[in-house]
């Protein structure tokens, strides 16, 4: 018995989303008496970083190292995971609802013959001996309860779905050498610009057609800088090539659930709202008081964004300076 959780790191640090996943896995282990939480991670990262996953309940971290571990390769990664799955017979295997989860979770589900619930937003409940998970559906326009018909479950958890606190504890770290064949030959990787990865960000500043052109994006970059936020955009913006497609949030782009989503010059079409409706807070800035975004946000500013965004950036900067000074 065990709960396996797939964790990731970037620039030498375990991702915050991985802490959330591990905390969720620990709660599952506790609730269902499912044995120790074993985190697994691929690629070179310091033992001390991984050991810190003990603060959210990981008992052990297995770190696969060696050639080919710095980018997900479904075949290579899965072949190595498989041994671990067969050795530990986990009741739950937890992934994030992200690229790596989508690449690996179906392979794990097919291997274990466990039901897989993608886009989970809560801990499960048990009804008549079956596990029921609440999940995101209709691209954020609805939720669904999925019943898992098998003894164990594979879960893909949405970001920002589970509150946790750091406790005490140190996980035991075991380094293993990766072995096996790759599915494909990775030639190069292009990192997107922007300091904060969009799906990891707590605050997202997003621009729409109202921005009038890519040359005005510095307004949003400056605001994002003050807030430590990631940048996003609406579909028309990425369609017109103002911003890269990797920043497109909405029904056919990314679905995100940050703490705060700031929509600037975005009218708020239903397809856009679908991708961001899971955000804890939404602030909208738009000059059209009739824009549908004002029906879907918590706070709104009806104003010309070219005036109000720099003003807001400046006010935040001054506030922070005052805080630091006082």
């Amino acid at each position: 018995m065990a709960v396996i959780v797939y964790t990731e790191h970037e620039d030498g640090k375990v991702k915050r989303s991985s802490y959330e996943l591990t905390a969720y896995a620990s709660e599952l282990a506790k609730q269902f008496n499912a044995g120790p939480v074993v985190a697994v991670t691929f690629g070179n990262v310091a033992d001390s970083e991984l050991a810190a996953l003990g603060k959210v309940g990981a008992e052990k971290v297995i770190n696969f190292q060696g050639e080919g571990t710095d980018q997900v390769d479904p075949k290579l990664f899965f072949d190595n995971l498989k041994t671990l799955l067969d050795d530990t017979s986990p009741k739950f295997v937890v992934f994030g609802a992200n690229n790596s989860g989508r690449a690996l979770a179906p392979l794990v589900s097919a291997h274990l013959k466990y039901g897989l619930v993608p886009g989970v937003v809560e801990l499960p409940r048990e009804e008549n001996g079956k596990l029921i998970f609440k999940k995101n559906a209709y691209s954020g326009k609805a939720f669904a309860d999925y019943q898992v018909n098998t003894d164990g479950a594979v879960i893909m958890l949405m970001r920002n779905s589970f509150d946790y606190e750091l406790g005490e504890g140190t996980a035991q770290v075991e380094v293993r050498q990766i072995s096996g064949d790759r599915a494909y030959n990775i030639e190069r990787v292009e990192k997107a610009t922007g300091k904060v990865p969009l799906t990891e960000a707590d605050v997202v500043v997003s621009g729409g057609r109202g921005m009038k052109g890519p040359e005005n994006w510095h307004l949003l970059e400056e605001l994002a800088e003050e807030l430590g936020a990631a940048l996003a955009c609406s579909k028309p913006v990425s369609d017109m090539g103002w911003r890269p497609h990797t920043e497109h949030v909405g029904q056919t782009g990314l679905t995100i659930r940050p703490t705060l989503y700031i929509a600037v010059g975005i009218s708020g079409a239903i397809q856009h709202l679908a991708g961001v409706s899971g955000s804890r807070y939404i602030i909208a800035i738009n000059k059209d008081p009739e824009a549908p975004i004002f029906k879907a946000c918590d706070y709104g500013v009806v104003a010309d964004l070219f005036e109000v965004v720099p003003k807001l950036t400046k006010a935040i900067r001054e506030f922070k300076e005052k805080q630091a000074g006082g």
């Binding site: 039901g115 309860d145 030959n185 990775i186 030639e187 497609h245 056919t252 990314l254 804890r280 104003a303």
Partner: protein
């Protein structure tokens, strides 16, 4: 070269979301159904490859009731050569993928490339491609943004991932899932619509694969409380909210 494109039926992107049967089923009444947008990108890519090369044959498949017939006919009108429908409305991705794989085994058909969308816009799973790849032992290339076939028959791929793009080469056979922009979706031409009428369209009995998960019910998210408007002349109020309530500064 043989290409299979798996398509799903989803409500139009602007369709109202409501449920019947105690939340178990989507309210289909009066709703326009479309080919799942990501599957459209996949289908369009198959069409691009067909235009570029002489030897491509494209089959579209859907695991669904006869409600999917008009969408499969549309795919034929767009240019697919054959359509197959497996006659069951699947409960989950495992059932859909399993039925497709069972049909492949039964029919003896072999495909060099299997395309589908990265997810459907109603179930938001993204599992069918991975399941098929796993069950067939094919190379699995999820979330593909660009694809070319080199002269020596290799797949030249750009994948989109969080925080960047991955450039890779892979061998066929492979299962590829499409993200937006993999190819420009096509509209059927009048000639295509006429031709579609005479193209092979077969309806197959399901093999009876059991789902691993069951949808119990759907519900709509709670409404946000009414939007509070902030006076742009008093932007400091918003800064206070960012600090005190939202706690991001």
């Amino acid at each position: 070269m043989k290409i299979l494109v798996a398509i799903a039926r989803t409500p139009d992107t602007t369709a109202p979301i409501d449920f019947v049967d105690d939340g178990k089923k989507y309210k289909e009444e009066g709703v326009q159904f479309i080919i799942n947008p990501y599957d459209e990108f996949a289908l369009a890519k198959a069409m691009d490859l067909k235009d570029e090369r002489q030897d491509v044959e494209v089959t579209v498949i859907s695991v669904d009731s006869n409600k999917a017939d008009q969408l499969l006919r549309k795919a034929l009108a767009i240019g697919a050569d054959k359509a197959v429908r497996i006659d069951v409305e699947p409960e989950d991705a495992w059932q859909a993928a399993g039925e497709i794989v069972e049909w492949l085994k039964k029919s003896g058909e072999q495909f060099d490339l299997i395309f589908t969308g990265k997810e459907t816009i109603n179930y938001n799973g993204g599992l069918v491609g991975g399941y098929i790849a796993s069950l067939l032992g094919y190379t699995y290339i999820p979330e593909t943004y660009k694809l070319n076939i080199t002269d020596d028959g290799k797949l030249d791929i750009v994948r989109e991932i969080e925080g960047g793009r991955v450039f890779l080469k892979a061998d066929m056979p492979a299962v590829i899932t499409a993200v937006e922009y993999l190819a420009e979706p096509r509209l059927p031409s009048m000639r295509g619509i006429m031709q579609a009428r005479t193209k092979p369209f077969s309806v197959e009995q399901p093999a009876g694969i059991e789902p691993l998960t069951t949808t119990v019910k759907h519900y709509l998210p709670p409404k946000r409380k009414e939007c509070k408007l902030i006076d742009p002349e008093n932007i400091e109020e918003l800064v206070e909210i960012l600090h005190k309530e939202i706690k991001v500064i």
